[in-house]
Symmetry: C2
Subunit: 271 residues, 2 copies
């Protein structure tokens, strides 16, 4: 059982472990009225990754909360909005040590959609903040996001995103987006094992391409891949903004292809 908090009513208790240590995780879901895009995948990821951290929450509990949230918030927004679920291990414990049988806290909020992205593509740059991924937390959208916060300080108004590299110099992901590159005979995307956040949108795009019989290679991505004349387009994937083509990367112009956004239209996944 979880404790449910509505962010428009109150925050979490002062001794919540999410605040104290980032001891929790979150999801942001693109909503249209009462329906959510890739909703089942979001709930699946949150309950699975909570389990990896030892936070007990069931997919069904989360599903019920989403239904209540849709009722509560949908009338406040015209058309689309964003549902955020923030789950923590709960309040208290002795320092870093949690207590057995702690009851998780779930903070639920609604927000306006970010401004729409031009189909002509966006400009991105390389981040100077290196991305480190702890083996225990690979792919988990946890509340420990200080690297992304610091990297996002490099985003100015002419940039949509910055792309972070790991210590091997591989391009891994943006602060809030995963990457996929189109090449003549298929697609390249950084391996799941290298990701700080393994996006729900990313996995859905991979599954969709796979179903269409496209060839996808999961391997480290380099700047040389992006600047290769064979590159047919670089895309940012995000479960609120969908497929975002990149037209300019660190000052280099890239080909823009609207095909992927057409095939993988987030709004066709509303549940």
């Amino acid at each position: 059982m979880i404790n449910l908090f509505w962010a428009d009513e109150c925050g979490l208790p002062a001794n919540d472990r999410g605040l104290a240590y980032g001891d929790g995780l979150f999801e942001t879901i693109r909503m249209e009225g009462v329906r959510g895009a890739l909703l089942a995948r979001h709930l699946e990821r949150m309950s699975r990754d909570a389990g990896r951290l030892g936070i007990a929450v069931s997919r069904n509990e989360l599903k019920e909360v989403c239904a209540k949230a849709a009722e509560r918030f949908s009338g406040r927004y015209q058309d689309g909005w964003v549902l955020k679920l923030l789950l923590t291990r709960g309040a208290g414990g002795r320092g870093y040590r949690s207590e057995v049988g702690m009851r998780p806290n779930l903070l639920v909020s609604g927000a306006v959609l970010p401004p729409p992205v031009s189909p002509l593509g966006v400009a991105v740059d390389l981040s100077r903040v290196a991305l480190t991924v702890h083996p225990l937390f690979v792919g988990i959208k946890s509340l420990n996001r200080l690297e992304q916060v610091m990297a996002s300080r490099e985003i100015n108004d002419s940039l949509f995103e910055v792309v972070m590299s790991n210590h091997e110099g591989h391009l891994v992901e943006g602060t809030r987006t995963n990457l996929i590159l189109k090449i003549p005979d298929g697609w390249i995307t950084p391996p799941k094992s290298s990701l700080a956040v393994a996006g729900v949108m990313r996995q859905w795009v991979l599954d969709s391409l796979h179903e269409r019989g496209e060839s996808i290679v999961e391997r480290p991505l380099t700047m040389a891949d992006v600047l290769d004349p064979g590159c047919r387009g670089l895309f940012l994937l995000n479960s609120v903004q969908g497929v975002v083509p990149v037209r300019e990367f660190a000052g280099h112009h890239l080909p823009v292809d609207s095909g992927l956004a057409t095939i993988c239209n987030l709004l066709e996944t509303l549940e």
Copy 2:
């Protein structure tokens, strides 16, 4: 200017960035009545490290808050207590991006002291959770502490602490303590550049030993150093519990020496 919140009255706003991303840092200070141990060093560290994250707070502001907190909380505890300052970048922003000129939030709480530690020493074990330290955040007691949380789940009632190693296999620090090893001709402690949290107690102990003319080497510490017959004692350093001698490390008995705890008595630093 900061917004001040008393944890016994309310928590932080639901959209605080400390909760959302661990975008902040904290200090825990050993108090005795209205006086704080190593108080100036705690305030110096918090204001300096906040500056590294781009959070604007002055040492003087913090000092004034501590005086108010001492007045507010000291009467509630017999003898010693713990003052916690939790500083965040503030509330809001667009996703990971913060806004310019954000006003930081400071959450202040008082707590009872943890149980006293036996002068005969404590038992510790090696953690299976590796410690990763991002170059940008070396030494900062930030709110991104999921590694320490997961490591502390290995602490059972017969253990005081677990010691975390980095990917090179060096012993770096405990979940809430720094390490110093006594050898025949001086002391060894892991280098500051390798630390997740550069403890205030650690620095004071180093300064005190230095003043006494003792030889201190900052270099990577290994299990071989600890098990070496020349080892005269391993100590955990923590600014609430002071100097804690280790009598047993991963099943190995170590010599216990009460000298360091006598030289570096935390309660002699009350300000």
